[in-house]
Subunit: 211 residues, 2 copies
């Protein structure tokens, strides 16, 4: 049975689920969420799909899961892939949680504020504050990746897929690969994986649609 | 062997680990982290304890774990407690991730900005923006708790312990229990659990020490 992922191209959190599905080799198809038309903020979406009002949502028959980190765990449980070795499970979860707390959450919001929110609603203080927090996160990740090909162990895991969620997007939010050599090399490693695709090639929806 | 938790009273993320240790009945003791003296930002802490520069850190013999959600998972694996029923594991993880992304991360930062950062460094725009995000998070949690005693299933799980991380603190950050009746009732349920303690009673360090 084909898994369905409710997602949209601009969402780095959706990308984490889509990339995990693609790299694990599962049969899946995207269902476009009309985020920019307000779908996730509507009562119907909250009542029927996700009380949290967020994408992605994975549907596998009777199973419906939300939160990208949960979907990643489900994919690993189902396929045996991307979870790392058994003794690495806490280390993989550690970086998924750190990413949700310190990296993707702030990167996604800052990218939204700088690119998708109407200019008159943007606050330079808020953007600057969040870029400062992002710089601290890049510093942690770049230091950890010194001498490593992937975040945990020797192969790609959900830790990598979580942390890279927003880092391939072209829209500016205060991240330049050239500033972070270890992160840059690691992102190239991910791009070199068989099956890797850019978010705008993997999911429907991109800023070009609304131009 | 007594587990050691590197923590400090003001840290809601530390509280999540400390409360899980206490409610699970494990033998543990706190080791105070001098956050306000800069310990977590120092090179020695990053090199020896946690590259992420964060508390809490759990030490169990040769095992050293960071990220409150990882420590919670470890405690559940070790004791069989607080993880929910096997079929609830994705739902527990879902709320732990949501909390890291949307609730504790923002509550902790906003409380820091409003109470612990020198006044001249505070930005009303940044505080207001984050309080708006927090209000959206309280709305999601309050709606989910309608008709429920705990977040997942009928008993306390790591989902509850994660989401309550910052909600018992007295310092203002834009949260008033009286505004959110389902959250208020749920927090009372947690306070009624055998072994429940307030963060300042469970861990060393509180604003009173620095007054």
């Amino acid at each position: 049975m084909t898994l369905k992922l409710h997602c949209f191209g601009e969402s780095g959190n959706s990308y984490k689920a889509a990339l995990a599905l693609e790299l694990s080799g599962l049969d899946w198809e995207p269902v476009k969420v009309d985020f920019f038309g307000g779908q996730t903020r509507g009562e119907a979406f909250r009542a029927d799909v996700n009380v949290m009002g967020e994408a992605p949502v994975l549907v596998d028959g009777e199973v419906k899961l939300t939160q990208s980190g949960v979907i990643q765990q489900y994919i690993s449980d189902k396929t045996g892939k991307l979870g790392g070795a058994p003794e690495e499970k806490y280390e993989v979860l550690r970086w998924v949680l750190w990413d949700n707390h310190k990296l993707s959450s702030i990167a996604g919001m800052t990218r939204f504020l700088m690119n998708f929110l109407p200019e008159q609603h943007r606050s330079a203080d808020v953007i600057g504050f969040n870029q400062g927090r992002l710089k601290a996160a890049y510093t942690v990740l770049d230091a950890h990746l010194d001498g490593r090909e992937f975040i945990v162990g020797r192969n790609v895991t959900n830790a990598d897929i979580s942390c890279c969620g927003y880092l391939f997007y072209p829209e500016p939010f205060g991240f330049d690969r050239a500033d972070w050599p270890n992160i840059d090399r690691w992102l190239s490693n991910l791009q070199g994986l068989e099956g890797w695709k850019h978010p705008y090639d993997l999911m429907p929806g991109s800023p070009a649609d609304r131009a």
